[in-house]
Amino acid sequence: MKFTFKGGIHPYEGKELTMDKEVKEYLPKGDMVYPLSQHIGAPAEPVVKKGDRVLVGQLIAKAGGFVSANIHSSVSGTVKAIEMRLTSSGSKMNSIVIENDNLYEAVEFKANDKPLEELTKEEILDAIKEAGVVGMGGAGFPTHVKLSPKEPDKIDTIIVNASECEPYLTSDYRRIMDEADKVIGGLKIVLKLFPGAKGIIGIENNKPKAIKLLKEKLAGDDDIVVNSLKTKYPEGAERQLIFANTGRYINSKMLPADAGCIVHNVDTVYAIYEAVREGRPLIDRLVTVSGDAVEEPCNILTKMGTNYAELIEAAGGFKETPEKIIAGGPMMGKALYTTDIPATKSSSAILCMTKDEVSEYEEGPCIRCGRCVSVCPGGVMPNTLATLVEKNQFDEFVKLNGMECCECGCCSYICPAKRHLTQTIAGARKLVLASRKK
């Protein structure tokens, strides 16, 4: 069986810059900023006030609803303010600012050494909820919500998304190479919640070392299989990953649970392991700092809330003046206009490029070559959709399944006329979603 999907592209990978380098541990020195909305759903509610002293791992904001997540301090220090601060989305968000005293005094984490068989479902879900674990692939969907589907009996596949199809990003790969046992342990905990389910670790075949390592570790295990996926972007997009691994198709109106699947990022299952086994809240994460403008591209294990400028400094600073800085991968990440923003639960990478390949070319008219249609993994017609948006025909846009776009960016990448297809369609999708909410 060939693990792949229809469409997609294969851009320059750029993973060799950071792939085999050791992870740097970095303890931040400056002020820490914790936006209250680092996840999908209701913002968290602060439980500390200005002047309070907090310790590493202490709860500073509690979930503001069911679909929400706790936030913990990742340093020890004093709460400086609760104010509006700029985040990687480019807009200001209510955030807790903590003055770091560099002592790193921590609260005690309650380890749980019970054998896997004795762990109860409630125990696992409570630990995950308490630790504030959210999907760390980028969207930040609260994990305890994902693990409580409406019909738990229908879930038969748990997929760990280790494909890491975005160019330059290698943090998931480093996680597997360094902490494979914990990643597998995390997956086993999730499988414990769904007794009938099978585990799949989906990983692109451009990471043979990781595949070999995982296969060795899982030799003799019948519940978990390692699938070597075809190296193609966006192999790691949820819908494409489910299709490649199980042959099931879901559309924008469905959840993975409707196809009997739950998909978790590598970092998320690692965080689940830490939350359940070690009682550690989600306070640190791996961030890839890469790109040709960075002195020493590498993966940095850092605390949540660290300033991006500090992280770039930790990677040796700039080699050249960057023309473009991106939060996240080059395909789906967001361009930044300042580095004065904090790392959050879903910050996977900071990329600093010496060349801005988007503004370099002028947008031209569509030459109707159809390349965007052939690469679109969602099976829509980006050229037609973008034209409809330009004409303000949003009804027609919805009729032609514009909402099926997953904003992966393949169409913009391949377009010889350099049209801003993804940007236009993504903008229209937001407008349509906003008008539906009204």
Partner: protein
């Protein structure tokens, strides 16, 4: 030819004709649709351009809405005061005599307001509003100047000057299309001869406004304090004029330290 065949043919046609005539007569009486006399009268007064500027499907749609009382007699933006008066006579309502025009509440053109970054993408305000920070302009309340309002204006009243939209109030027919189109809700309807217009939409704190724009309301409240009619209120660091009270005396224009009341 036999004369009889002509007679028979004529007779058959006459019988069929009489029968069909009776049928149609009965049907027209039985299935008749009541048409509002007013609606027809209103339709005749309306200009008949079918421009859609009123927000209804053509002049027929507006006539129907006015007759039913759903739209105001001055609903036609093209006809203006004259048409409104005639319609008001028919429906008995009162035509609003104040001519309203659309106005862009931003004077932060490219010389006065800063951009946070270079924007590369579709030149459409609605799409640009999804860019980081709600658009490239450092002020998240100001006009981005990509001309989405210009594109929807049926009357050519809007032009983009130095990076912001400017509305020619003589060409404006107050249809409200631009008001609905602007993603930042900068455009508002003001009286044609308004005495004082606040040319800013920023609800930021004064210091933050100053940092990004030389032409922004800092919410100092001097205008509100000095207005003899108490027509100005300051909410969220932004002055707002109540045109029912404003007499156009011009005191606020003189007192405004940043000169953004025009």
């Amino acid at each position: 030819m036999d004369i009889m065949s002509i007679v028979i043919a004529a007779a058959v046609v006459s019988v069929v004709g009489i029968f069909a005539g009776i049928l149609l007569g009965v049907a027209s009486e039985k299935f008749k649709v009541d048409v509002d006399e007013k609606e027809i009268a209103i339709r005749e007064i309306l200009p008949g351009n079918n421009c859609g500027g009123c927000g209804y499907p053509g002049c027929d749609g507006l006539a129907c809405a006015i007759a039913k009382g759903e739209a105001s007699p001055s609903g036609c933006p093209v006809g203006g005061e004259e048409v409104a008066k005639k319609i008001a006579e028919i429906v008995g309502g009162e035509a609003s005599t104040v001519k309203m025009v659309a106005h862009v509440k931003c004077a932060g053109d490219c010389n006065k307001a800063k951009d946070a970054y270079d924007y590369v993408g579709p030149k459409n305000c609605k799409i640009a509003a999804n860019a980081p920070g709600g658009g490239p302009k450092a002020c998240s309340y100001g006009c981005m100047g990509y001309g989405s309002c210009q594109a929807v204006c049926q009357f050519g009243a809007i032009s983009i000057v130095d990076g912001i939209a400017v509305i020619d109030k003589d060409k404006c027919k107050s249809c409200g299309m631009c008001v609905a189109e602007c993603p930042r809700h900068i455009i508002e309807m003001v009286p044609y001869d308004a005495g004082a217009i606040v040319e800013c939409n920023s609800k930021d704190f004064g210091k933050d406004v100053k940092a990004v724009c030389q032409s922004g309301c800092i919410g100092c409240g001097i205008c509100a304090k000095n207005c003899p009619q108490n027509a100005i209120t300051v909410d969220n660091y932004l002055a707002k004029v109540d045109y029912d009270k404003c007499t156009g005396c011009g005191t606020c224009k003189e007192k405004c330290p940043v000169k953004i009341i025009k």
